[in-house]
């Protein structure tokens, strides 16, 4: 067990270290997310008196785009420098490599998201830090980031077409997004009955996370 976890941790640590060192990608993901929230609050402030009903949509679309933007680069680097092959050559199973990568991305995304939640709490004057909401954010992030991590492997080796990743990732993530938006709305008391939506979110997140783990080894084969 330890043998299997160790190398995966090595990947996590390496990716977090690289992400921290080369903050460009993540910082700009965070910056764009912030800008998006800012743009929304500027855009909506005048148009609608009460801006709070829009919060779930604002938050999740931003999370989604930021996640695709940042996660999409995670394998691009590896394939550019040929180090992806080095990972596959090692005795670590591809699944462990994937788990390490996905974990690093999820951690980085969660950091960005909590910053966003803090920012939104101030800008929209709504308390966004409840346990329920944290669970929802966690579920949504795990589901969407595990999927974009898998897809980024594929689009990295499919040479080009920057647009391909979002085109592939977005429709797959729509069910998850819907669940997340509605569940968030319910948890902010903007809607009644969180349960079915949280269920949809959980099912969609589980589906994409589980399938991504299963399919990754097949996807990287040549």
């Amino acid at each position: 067990m330890n043998e299997a976890i160790g190398p995966s941790m090595a990947v996590v640590m390496k990716d977090l270290r690289l992400a921290w060192r080369d903050r460009a990608g993540w910082a700009s993901a965070g910056a764009f997310a912030t800008i998006a929230v800012l743009v929304y609050s500027f855009a909506f402030d005048l148009a609608t008196g009460d801006i709070r009903p829009l919060l779930p949509g604002v938050l999740w679309t931003t999370f989604l785009f930021a996640g695709i933007f940042a996660g999409g680069q995670s394998f691009a680097r590896e394939s550019e420098e040929g180090t992806f092959d080095a990972l596959l050559l090692s005795p670590v199973s591809p699944t462990m490599v994937y788990l390490g990568k996905a974990a690093a991305n999820i951690i980085a995304m969660l950091v960005i998201e909590f910053l966003q939640l803090g920012l939104a709490t101030i800008l929209f004057d709504t308390n966004l830090v409840s346990l329920e909401l944290l669970v929802i954010v966690f579920l949504g992030t795990v589901g969407s980031v595990s999927l974009t991590t898998l897809l980024s492997t594929m689009s990295a080796s499919m040479r080009g077409r920057a647009m391909l990743l979002p085109v592939m990732a977005l429709p797959l993530l729509v069910p998850l997004l819907i669940g997340a938006v509605r569940a968030t709305g319910a948890s902010l008391n903007l809607e009644v009955g969180a349960a079915p939506w949280t269920l949809l979110l959980a099912v969609a997140a589980l589906w994409s996370a589980a399938l991504s783990v299963l399919l990754f080894p097949i996807a990287v084969e040549r």
């Binding site: 592939m168 069910p175 097949i218």
Partner: protein
Amino acid sequence: MSALTSTLQRVYGLWWIVLPPIVGSAVMAMIIGALVVAPREIIEGDVQRLLYIHFPSILAAYGAFGVVFVASLVVLWKRDLRWDAVARGAATVGVLFTGLTLATGALWGKPIWGVYWTWDARLTSTLVLFLIYAAYLLARSMADELDEQAARFAAVFAVLGALDIPLVMFSVTWWRTLHPQPIIMRGLERPAMPAEMLAVLLIAFLGIGALALWLGVLRTEAEWLAKRTATLRAKIDRHQGA
């Protein structure tokens, strides 16, 4: 082995003889049935005739996407590019018929709901289904026919996207929607509509089903031939020396 293959090939060749007349007559029957035989719906009027395309189309699409799902699993399991051709063929048909459902639904919606489109769970999930498989076709067509890895990527994508099929099928029962609840399937024993309507609908199922099957076979065949042409072209290029 070769005996089996040749038998299969002979059976396969029969599609060319058997399918076209079946498809032709079934589609003719469907059109005549929908336009002439079926009674005019009392409340909705003539637009209701769109049902004979609207509903059978989505069923054909479900079938096609089911084939995509299975064929993709086989691609992942067996690494056989022929199943990639099957998956692509079926996906094309599925996208086409989902598009038909969307288009007829939108046309139907204007007089009934007053708008072409609304963000209702069924409509949205149907649109997402359309987009997923359109993205599948897009991603697959960007790579070479013979690129095995691209075929595998596409298959992974198709398997991931299969979650949306049950979401579309059950969205009406799971969430309150503007879209009509399923009555036809449930009501086959206790018909909720005139017998003529039901009969025409059954013919439409047949016609659209046969059409979908025929188109799927054609597309698959075309993919297959494209793969073989690509192989031959590569061989010719390479054997001139270089």
